[in-house]
Amino acid sequence: MTPAKTHLDASTNRSHSELDLDGKDEQDHVEITSRARLAVEPALKLSGVSKRWRRSRTPVLDEIDLELLSGSATWIGGRNGAGKTTLLRIAAGIITPDAGESRARGLSPERDRRAYQTEVGFLSTGNTGLYARLTVRQHLRYQSRLNLLTTNEAEQAIEREFRRFRLAEIDGRRVDRLSMGQRQRLRLAMTMLREPTVLLLDEPRNSLDDEGVAMLLDVIARTAARGGAIVWCSPADETTGMDFDRQLIVENGSLVPA
């Protein structure tokens, strides 16, 4: 599987704004709707992001800049504790950086929280975030409501994720009776319910078998194809099974090419 490789060559790295507005007159600029404005922004942009833990002398992230364009897939590696998860959590709007900012499609996680969380999908590492006593379908229904989907949207999204991650075979089963790989498929399905345009994955291969990995890669390819941007974080020695547009490593608080 090779996801769409676009926009990452520095020599052709014109901004979307330039691409979309070339040849338009000033009147057209005025008529750009807010939706169009969002579409011309980078999918995800981190500017000067720094984070330091209390009682720590050195920052875990030190003025990180990262810009992800639509249709791109980026791998971020690094040793344990390097700051990969912290970086993803900042990008997901879960934690606030000490300095700098994160923007998804030009949206701020502080000022445009609801819209930001609609654009960004985050899969945390591990197998937490599920209710042991609820079934697979109950989880998806619950998550669709937290995503503020309408009843029709929710039903369509749930059926789509059931197909994508082949959840029908475990539909009525409680989570505490699922294998770790099945739980990971459910977690991925919950992340994909609102079809985020920025997909942040923290060690997504966790417990997945070959079939599960194929489902994951298919979802990533589809996300990239519809203009989404993907970040995949994992330790340096993990096999991801896909080619990335860019590969970076978190090292001493900085983001460097792998």
Partner: protein, 269 residues
Amino acid sequence: MKMLRSHLLAARAICHRDLLMYISYRARLFSHLITVFVSLASFYYISRLVKVHEFQTSQKYFSYVVVGIVITAILQAALSVASTLRAELLMGTFERFVCSPFGAVNGIASMVIFPILLELVFAVLTLAIGGIVFSMPIKWSTAPLAIPVALGGAALFGALGLLFSAAVLVAKQTTAAATYATTALGLLGGVYFPIQLLPDWGRFIANIQPLTYAVSLMRHFLIGYPLQGSIVGDILRILGFLLVTFPLAFFALSRGVRFSRRRATVLEY
């Protein structure tokens, strides 16, 4: 309008989630009912020992206490949201709120609904068992007026629960504080004995805390126990507490979320 509807549906989904988890443990409902029955039976026999001027008959003391414990149970249910939040943090499920368009503040606020509704149902069951099994006299002519008072009191206690939840986001551990608060509010709110028996400082605290007025009005409407003040005065006090506590609770909660996001402890436990 569409946004309001989707928020209400999200809040309902959280209630539904809590209901599903509650009924997934089949013995839970049964043990809850047993607890109600044992509590009523204990106070029924303790009331046989009470022979004081304040309560001319044992049955009057029994009725007095039953209303008190019903209200205290609602208070406990509201404050339990703080420990539920901690459990969500432990399970990693709180992350779903933080990462969702519905949001952490709305999510936590919605978590208080199910335990309160459940306890309101059990309040009705407790009064029904008290009336049917233990011959507790209910003043049916005014009993329906207790419903809005119970709802107002529940909303007020819910706001207190949110304040404790805000503390959980910052300090992570507030179970002991919630237990102390319930005990103190119960002792100083006239749950088991009239507040007139308290020393001056105790009566002062009783008069500036909301449980006193909720219990007093509920007793008046359910069993005809005389009020110290007026109905309107007590209702206004409850409304006043609501007007102050609710915005304060949401402010504290949103500050708690912001603080823990900044400290990067929002998912820690």
